[in-house]
Symmetry: C2
Subunit: 553 residues, 2 copies
């Protein structure tokens, strides 16, 4: 399958698979997959099955609903088709895909499901799934990401996770974890359910907690709407506010350079590294919430988050051999701090809430990116508050101690703001500072006294906020060696190592999905029993029986 | 490499790699690996490196110290060699091993490390590691399992995890998890450490929390002994008690039947299943602690635990294609209950404490076995208390409702005892009952009122204690279908699914090691970058450079 560049930028007028409709405080996201609309040639998206392209549209819709529709308090996910809700990830697509594409695909769909849950929990835009027909595999996993699952009680509508019996793989979008850890399905029931290809319907589905409510098919649409309206009525979103629109993110790709308004990405193919340079704001922040709304998508924190998010997706999907992301910044740290202060002051504004939540999700996307992250804190950089989270997200950071011979730039400093102490937790539920200082939890509170200070390299080292602080003489060699060394290691080994070291401390649904379930799925995606010439995933639909190596490992 | 049967039964007089010596309340376990003593032909165990055979001896020593030496309150792990503590798992052995052997090897070594930590925490036999020379890879992971790590401060002794840079794999025995979750090493320090093949020594090793204490080499032996003596002095183990001896576990393997004193294993190769039938006690329990000590290793709960443990290891290592373990029992549930009551009454006795801790570990070994577990509760069975934990550990259970036509056996019943409510937690820290009823936590307390009752199938179903309760007419078909269906699924898919469904709820060091780190390691063990013809693990020592697929996944 040819690996054409994948572009994650879209908008409702270009959707091929989803219809977005609004009815007062309720939005409807209706799945009607265009069979011939696959992202790649070679497969047909039959039975409302999906590929990455379908999920890119879903992710866009979830994002737009938050920013463009403050009046929406509930979102119903449903199918346009009669007997089929969604049959999950397209199997022929999976069979044709490279290992890294499968893994990337599963990661992105998981991030989209988590964005749905984040919208329900924190944007108060609650997702409800209304199932008429079969919700199989990824179809049921989409339902599991919703807060309520309504199922037609018609003797045939059913939910299922048939991956293991049919394909010899696992549900790849958090299904196993959400069964036992979100819906608290008893593990013996989950065992039966996940080994029964035809799934479970009716009363048993409800008794086993697989769905919440059974509704006669003739009343399904009406009851769904009633439930959605009552959920929407409990939302704190402002019914009469005006949303902001999210225009297409502008970018220019010229050779190995990608230019966004506030971000430049430069790819160094020899060192298999991409430098991401984030630019701080050009001017002081606007005065109040009204002015933020006036700037809309051009408001610096929102514009930068969108650009960083798009750049990460571009690099993940299209630059798979670029294994290291070098994080840099340029600008005035005091201005970044002023923007953070504005976000804190206006935190009760719905749009500001969305912007902060979006930074949280964007930073989480960084945390789970299978790339080595090296942060460079140099003279002229502006790693303050929100931007300092990138330094904390890095596997390792270097801060230049002092000035550089022949340069006018002042010595590098970093700044802490309220954004480092709560609003942007990692997937493990802790702030990056708390994750960093598990051995000295009091340190986090002590660091609050540093808010508002410009912290130089020596102090940053003392406070444990950066890894190494070479001076001008050592800087270039030390940084070059670190990046080159990384390029020499096994990419798989690095992915596994980083996934283990990045998430110390407590585990959550989210870390279980990314660090545990995903690892098992990656393993199984490599096993001949699934993806070998005689594996179940390869042979599905051929009429031939898979041949399994029977050894248990 | 020929796959000869592996026997886990050993004793100190047969050790080839470890020396066990006692000095009052301190035991010394000294590693002196016999290069030519590998479990399989084809590799030499150079530089105090180990294979499964070395770890089988270590596991045996850890177990014996608990039961045979109540007077020992501290155990020192050290090396006989001058400049090398331990260089970890033997790389040539790994390169020659099949995937399932590598996975089995890592699982067993992890269980042994956890047994060491369990001894320190609960048997109050505290492990201290005294490192003179290089502790690399699995060598340092062994140190990480100890409560204190002492390092010679001689300018060359160092600790390292060179797996990623040298072999393109991960530390396979919990190293990454223990770094950041047990020793709370900062993740950027951990990142540097795990990518630096030569490791870290001296002050940096201590400042980064990689070791606890630096000791000049000339004083290492004396200081180690002093520290061990002071730790031993704080133990609650009885200095003047007499241990019991653990004779060789007797078993007879005849064709597909393995007979132990209280356990029979029958292998059904066609259905790829092994039936494990545990026998209840023959008679009422002894009266008091003195009588338990008198029976020693013949005391039914201890004898059965040892037999079950040995049977599981035999099946794991030597019957890899037998993918389902069917758990059955036979005997008088009231007698099992009486034994449990005795264990509860005598819980302050050191030997009883060891027996209960051993059941805890044995049941955990069952939990992490990569086999489908189906429990059958039939007329004549004795699934009470401790033995009922096996039913709770099963992926699914069937309980026959009523009597069987033409049989005199009374209808099956189960019984709860205090053993179901605390002493045998799973790796996630919860009892199996609490893990089962995450959706209804009050249920666990309510079930306490059932203690002492014989619970029939209808009541067990009502209480949620078993999965299905077919009657005599349906029993045979339903059970046969369940076992045959399991044999038809992909073994890898089942392993991944079960690992995800079995451990809902909180995560601990232990579940992170088995469910997260192990899954990543399994994945990496399958990747051509590690184990392909040009992979790092295959080429190690050949002088050739590994060739990596650079795509990040």
């Amino acid at each position: 399958m040819a690996e054409l560049p994948i572009d994650c930028r879209t908008e409702p007028s270009r959707y091929r698979h989803w219809k977005l409709a609004l009815e007062g405080g309720v939005a409807y996201l209706t799945l009607d997959v265009n069979e011939d609309g696959g992202l790649r040639p070679g497969y047909k998206l039959k039975l409302n099955s999906y590929d990455l392209g379908v999920d890119i549209e879903l992710a866009d819709a979830v994002q737009r609903l938050r920013f463009e529709h403050p009046e929406v308090g509930a979102v119903v996910i449903r199918s346009q088709r009669d007997r089929i809700f969604c049959s999950g990830a397209n199997i022929n697509m999976l069979g044709l895909s490279s290992h890294h594409h499968k893994v990337n695909f599963c990661k992105f769909t998981n991030e989209t499901r988590l964005a749905i849950e984040d919208a329900s929990a924190h944007s108060r835009q609650t997702y409800i799934c209304s199932i008429n027909g079969i919700a199989a595999g990824g179809g049921y996993e989409l339902a599991l990401a919703c807060e309520q699952i309504l199922l037609a009680d018609d003797g045939s509508s059913a939910v299922s996770l048939p991956e293991l019996p049919l394909l010899a793989v696992l549900p790849g979008t958090g299904g196993l974890t959400r069964l036992v850890d979100k819906r608290l399905v008893r593990r013996d029931h989950a065992d039966f359910f996940c080994t029964t290809a035809e799934g479970v319907r009716g009363k048993r589905a409800r008794d086993w907690r697989l769905v919440d409510t059974l509704i006669p098919p003739s009343r399904l649409a009406d009851e769904t709407h009633k439930i959605a309206e009552s959920v929407a009525a409990r939302s704190d979103r402002p019914r009469d506010a005006k949303g902001i629109s999210l225009p297409t993110i502008e970018r220019a790709i010229e050779g190995d350079t990608i230019r966004y308004g506030h971000l430049t990405v430069e790819i160094d193919r020899e060192r298999r590294a991409a430098k991401l340079r984030l630019n701080g704001p050009d001017a002081a922040p606007p005065a109040d919430a009204a002015a933020i709304h006036g700037q809309g998508a051009a408001f610096w924190p929102l514009a930068l988050a969108r650009q960083l998010d798009d750049a990460m997706m571009h690099l993940r999907l299209n630059e798979t051999e670029i294994g290291t992301w070098v994080l840099q910044s340029q600008g005035d740290g005091a201005l970044v701090e002023a923007y953070d202060a504005l976000l804190a002051r206006q935190s009760s504004d719905w749009l500001v809430r969305e912007i902060v939540l979006y930074w949280k999700r964007t930073l989480k996307r960084l945390d789970v990116s299978a790339r080595s992250l090296i942060a460079l804190v140099e003279p002229g950089s502006c790693f303050a508050g929100t931007l300092f989270e990138l330094v904390l997200a890095a596997d390792r950071s270097y801060m230049l101690d002092g000035t550089v011979d022949g340069s006018n730039l002042p010595a590098a400093s970093i700044r802490l703001t309220a954004m480092n102490f709560g609003p942007c937790p990692m997937g493990n539920g802790l702030t990056r500072l708390a994750s960093r200082f598990l051995a000295a939890p009091d340190r986090v509170d002590e660091l609050k006294s540093e808010i508002g200070q410009a912290i130089d390299a020596e102090a940053a080292d003392e406070l444990g906020l950066v890894t190494f602080t070479p001076d001008d003489i050592d800087w270039e060699d030390e940084v070059r060696l670190a990046v080159e060394e990384r390029a020499g290691f096994s990419p798989d080994g690095l992915t596994g190592m980083e996934a283990n070291l990045r998430f110390a401390g407590p585990e959550t649904l989210e870390t279980k999905i990314f660090a545990r379930l995903s690892a098992w799925q990656n393993w199984i995606f490599q096993r001949p029993n699934a993806t070998g010439a005689e594996g179940a995933l390869k042979l599905y639909g051929s009429g031939k029986q898979a041949k399994y190596d029977r050894k248990r490992a």
